[in-house]
């Protein structure tokens, strides 16, 4: 099976700065890959490149079988990106935000309520404008968009930052569910222990390149609780 993400020598610029300076990476279908590294190592840009938002100026970049250098827009609607700052309109309520995202993706707005319930945003909270929610609640709302849209590739930028223990468990459950339904996940993190525990492979970035790849402990953890992990091609 073809890899979901295939980067070879990918260089991406932010302004004139080479945020990615030649990334080689492949992510298999059903795999969970964590990306760690210091500030400015290129983690966010890597995820944005995979989402088709930052153009690749040299090298090879194929995501979900689409050549990003030819047509990045074809990838965008098939990936789900949870940005470092969740993409919510402050003046719209949580439910309105999710419904807008669903309608935009050509999906039924009726998926919004169950998705919001799945992330624990119910009742009054769902009717609160996003600007009035806490950072953690906003992150949950943004996650519910991904739950409802069920993209083929989840790209989560620092999903753990500022989340309490309950939310972290929720996140880990959502990732597991996504993988079980056939999606692949890439997420960035500052905490390399958490990253390793939650992923199949941990990629360490530095200076805009992949410096190191180690295997993670997610599958082992799953096996320990008696669940079979998905197969990696």
């Amino acid at each position: 099976m073809d890899p979901v993400v295939l980067l070879r020598g990918a260089v991406a610029l932010t302004g004139r700065f080479p945020a990615l300076s030649g990334v080689d990476l492949s992510v298999a279908a059903g795999e969970v890959v964590s990306v760690v590294g210091a500030n400015g190592a290129g983690k966010t840009t890597l995820l944005r490149v995979c989402a088709g938002l930052v153009p690749v100026s040299s090298g090879e970049a194929i995501v979900l079988g689409v050549d990003l250098r030819a047509d990045p827009s074809a990838v965008r609607r098939r990936v789900g990106l949870l940005g470092h700052a969740p993409s919510l309109y402050d003046e719209l309520t949580a439910a309105e935000n999710v419904r807008f995202a669903l309608r935009a993706a050509g999906l039924g707005a009726d998926r919004a309520t169950p998705a919001l319930e799945r992330v624990g945003i119910t009742g009054r909270l769902a009717k609160t404008v996003a600007g009035g929610l806490s950072a953690g609640q906003r992150r949950r709302v943004a996650l519910s968009v991904l739950v409802a849209r069920a993209p083929e590739l989840w790209l989560l930028d620092e999903p753990h930052a500022g989340l309490d223990a309950g939310a972290r468990n929720l996140l880990s459950d959502l990732v597991t569910e996504a993988v079980r339904s056939g999606a692949s996940v890439m997420f960035s993190s500052h905490e390399s222990e958490v990253a390793a525990a939650m992923s199949d492979r941990r990629v360490t970035m530095s200076g805009g390149r992949v410096a190191d790849v180690t295997s993670g402990g997610r599958r082992a953890k799953l096996a320990a609780v008696g669940e079979g992990g998905s197969h990696v091609a």
């Binding site: 990045p72 940005g83 995202a101």
Partner: protein
Amino acid sequence: MWRDALLVAGKDLRIELRSRVALWQVLPVAVLSLVLYAFALGPARHTLAAAAPGLFWLAVLFSTVLATQRSFAIESGEGTRDGLRVSGIDPAGVFLGKAAAVAAELAVLQVVLWAAMTLLFGVHIHTAWLAIVASFLATIGLATAGTLYGALSAGLRVRETLLPLLVLPVLAPVLLAASRAWSGALTGPVSSGESWLRILGPFAAVYLVVGIVLYGPLLETA
């Protein structure tokens, strides 16, 4: 495309209804500018009445810049700019939706400005249909061209200063044609006002079509 346009327009207008930025910031500035023009020109009624159509459209023109900037400020909030691009909305739909929302805001603005102008400058519209048709076409032209340039400068650090430089010369024919058409509607002759619709119509049509075609490549670069 139309479904997406409706979705985006609805979203933008709902955000405007909640935030009231256009209502409490853009509109007062537009009305204030009428007062400032009067200060600049002197209080003589006949001077103001003669200049009224031009001043009215000048106020609308600058409000267009503000409204466009606001329209893209919504999308430049933390993360929302990416959101619109990964959402899967047809770029032409985004263009039509945002332009429609700006047009709706400009339409409300014109009604209020017209009332203010009637009060302050003592001018009256004699040929209502001409004023309305001219306004309609001019509003489409302003909103579409404004939205195109708004997208062009969106996300750039210099957007506040770049947008007026880019958009004002392009909108100059609208200012010219709409002012003359309104002049015809206010004081006549109607026939000379009418002929300006031949500028406003094509302008609106051209930027509507250009926007639908070129918004895709433009959004790519945001």
